[in-house]
Amino acid sequence: MGNTGSGRINSELQTKAASTQRKTTLLAIAAIVVIYIILSAVTEWRFLTGPNMLAILTSSIVPALVVLGFIFIFTSGIMDLSTGAMMILASNVGGILAVQLGLGYFGLIIGSVVTAIGLELLNVKLILVTKIPAWIFGLGMTMVYEAIGALYNAAMIAQGTQSISLGDLYRELGAPPVNVIVIVVCVVVAFLIYNRTKLGFGLRAVGSNSAVAGMMGINVGKTVLMASVVGAMFLGLASAVNMSFAGRVAPTTGLASISVIFTPLAAFLLAKAFDRIFNITIGAIICAFLLTSIFNVLTLLGVPSGTLQQVFMGAAVIICGILSQRKYKGVVQ
């Protein structure tokens, strides 16, 4: 057993670790560059243009924010599928506060964030208390949240109006440069919490090995709840930015809201697969941008959006899932 490490000394270990780290990072960056060159080539260089890149950046910001939220919610093992429906509700509450109550940006952001935090806290608390598997609970709550949104929508239509719309107001939050500032600030905050606080390390300990975490004096339940509040804050911000970007977010039914979180889900899984190379909070942005780019290319190639692109989306989720699980051994159900 283990007579391998006997001769190693300080500097050797350090250098070895540092050089492999450098090598894999360079390799990853090279891979991304190659992917972008290939993507540009197949689109006859329509892809790597300034305006197109800006368009990709703009549409990758909401998914990136959602991935940041997922990092804090999913890491503890609570895979909450109702987040999509929850974000639709949050967008609409934000819209109502902004327009109907005349609270402007303040109302939009506070409404979205508070709604997201409140609903996510409710979800996580109920999952912890009832011990129902998170995925089935998320499916049930998706139906509930979708129904609430649809009931509101139906009531609005009965009154002769449509669901809440921002019109031309309050659209700066979703457009450059404000949205870029938002994402930069959020990445910094997420990075700090995930890598520099007791909560971040507690969450990662619980996610990696909750038995040891518990023995080391970490309050598992409290950590999971606190982390989900942080995650929900990012989801709420994502809802506000999305509302501002789109002007209107229509409620969906029939689980369609789950497809809202598909790009972020794929990006999250991809970021998890590469967390040895990029810190997962940085990886969130890179992966969201990467996936948005791929869908942008599909559009440029004339692949119909909504149909075949969704097929690619499904494939992307499965492939990212396989990548993120490849280190994992044990029972999978």
Binding site: M1, R204, N209
Partner: protein, 502 residues
């Protein structure tokens, strides 16, 4: 020991039960300042249980503990650390998904906080300083713990325990995992503890090493402390005798002292190799009981799993000589009349939340399957009832859920479901683990009966007396290799076997 003796830690009348077994039965131990104490005993003697209670990993059932003169009742290892007790134990691992430095201070990161944000530079610096302070090479404290080897992880655990500045350091079987260089550094650490008037309690299987390193040795057996002796007064043989010194009342073992089996070989294993052992070859004969023993890490349990193809092998063959079939999968092994009782009854063998019937028929599925794959409910009930009756399982009926049965009755179901089938080879891994004496003797009788009918058995066990009492041939393994093969007629004694094992 330096001069005036001062008690640093005291445990009195400690008791701990796991179901019906007394893991610790009225254990009292006192540790002085500046003392290095060894704790030794066979597997299951209760030493790990005692350490778990001191380290705050398991609550005691009764008893009193004092640390530095104050009453001591740890909630978790962090609490134990606050009382200046640092522990390195197998149960308390590291979190793979965190950097090494964070693992060292996990649960105690408050002191690095600056306005809610951790000062990582300071944390990593403090972690690196701990390595330096105890003369270990400094690990890359910012790297993920998951990338370390088993040995390196042990060192990190040791540093974590040392970083609290303990007055009492508990080391549970750490030297086995360490190479010589690291071992020497560890012994220096222990010396420093002694010189500073601090205390070390260490567990190891290596008696010679223990006598060399420690001042005195406490020996445990069957959940009790059988004695404490000063190292300058004992020889390794004395200690071994005290460890073993159990009365081998042979009443429930077989009485003959000669191996007895037919010449026909039923199972032939050639050069079997996996990540846990290498080059294992043997022939198993009809009606033979073949025992395997070895210390933890010797690879005996992994061997049992590989023989039934649950665990992959890297080289070698397992051939059933009658049909010439080579075992490739568990299912095929079953069809070739092999049976397997795994070591961990509740995690590997039985579905504890399911009925006796479902559990019996899982192993005996081929007895209940008819035409068109029909699993006849009637036949299923018959087979289950036969197991319950033949093996005297105490239950209200075959619909009883397993978790409602006692350990002994569970084991009867576990063994019985294989023994009622006409199997030719049975692999039994720790067949009497966690059952009381009555059931034990019952299981031995059943094994001898099966032997008489020509069933060949491979028995892997951590309990030497049972192998000595039952086996025709005994294979002793050490560090993944066959170290010795003994015949019953040569008279096995525990001293002889332990000599080879250690």
């Amino acid at each position: 020991m330096n001069g005036a003796e001062k008690t640093i830690f005291r445990a009195e009348h400690m008791k701990k039960y796991f179901g019906a077994t007394h893991a610790n039965d009225d254990v009292s131990i006192t540790l002085e300042a500046g003392e290095v104490r060894g704790l030794i005993g066979e597997n299951g003697s209760g030493k790990s249980t005692l350490i778990s209670m001191i380290a705050g990993l398991a609550p005691k059932d009764s008893g009193e503990m004092t640390m530095n003169g104050a009453a001591y009742l740890p909630e978790n290892p962090i609490d134990a650390g606050d009382h200046k007790i640092g522990t390195v134990v197998q149960e308390l691992g590291l979190v793979d998904g965190l950097p090494i430095g964070v693992n060292i201070f996990l649960g105690r990161t408050q002191r690095f906080e600056k306005g809610g944000v951790l000062d990582m530079k300071a944390l990593y610096k403090a972690a690196a300083e701990q390595f330096e302070k105890w003369n270990f090479p400094v690990f890359p404290v910012q790297s993920m713990t998951g990338s370390l080897s088993v040995e390196e992880k042990k060192i990190v655990e040791l540093i974590r325990a040392l970083s609290i500045g303990p007055d009492l350091l508990i080391l549970d079987e750490i030297t086995q995992a360490l190479s010589l260089n690291y071992r020497d550094i560890l012994f220096e650490v222990i010396k420093k503890f002694r010189n500073d008037g601090k205390t070390v309690l260490m567990v190891t299987h290596d008696v010679e090493e223990m006598i060399e390193v420690t001042d005195s040795i406490t020996i445990m057996r069957d959940g009790k402390i059988v004695g404490t002796c000063r190292c300058d007064e004992v020889s390794p043989d004395d200690v071994k005798r005290m460890m073993v010194g159990r009365d081998l009342e042979g009443a429930y073992y077989r009485s003959d002292q000669k191996e007895s089996f037919e010449d026909e070989v039923v199972l032939s294993v050639k050069g079997l190799t996996s990540d846990a052992f290498e080059g294992i070859s043997f022939d198993l004969h009809r009606g033979e009981i073949l025992g395997f023993c070895g210390l933890s890490g010797a690879g005996i349990h992994e061997l049992a799993e590989t023989l039934f193809a649950v665990r992959p092998s890297q080289a070698g063959t397992i051939r059933l000589t009658q049909t010439g079939a080579v075992v490739k999968s568990p299912r095929q092994a079953m069809l070739e009349k092999m049976g397997y009782v795994p070591k961990d009854r509740d995690k590997q063998a039985l579905m504890v939340n399911d009925s006796i019937e479902d559990n019996v028929c899982l192993a005996a599925v081929d007895m209940t399957e008819g035409k068109l794959g029909f699993l006849s409910p009637k036949r299923r009930r018959e087979v289950s009832k036969r197991v319950v009756q033949k093996f005297e399982v105490k239950t209200k009926g075959i619909a009883q859920v397993i978790s409602g049965l006692s350990g002994g009755n569970r084991q009867k179901v576990n063994l019985g479901r294989w023994m009622i089938q006409d199997k030719e080879v049975l692999i039994l891994d720790c067949p009497t683990r966690g059952v009381d004496v009555g059931v034990k003797s019952y299981i031995y009788r059943s094994m001898l009966e099966a032997k008489k009918q020509g069933v060949a058995m491979i028995v892997v066990s951590d309990e030497l007396p049972e192998l000595i009492g039952m086996a025709d041939t005994l294979m002793v393994m050490k560090a993944g290799k066959l170290a010795a093969v003994m015949k019953r007629s040569e008279v096995f004694t525990e001293e002889k076997i332990i000599e080879v094992m250690l």
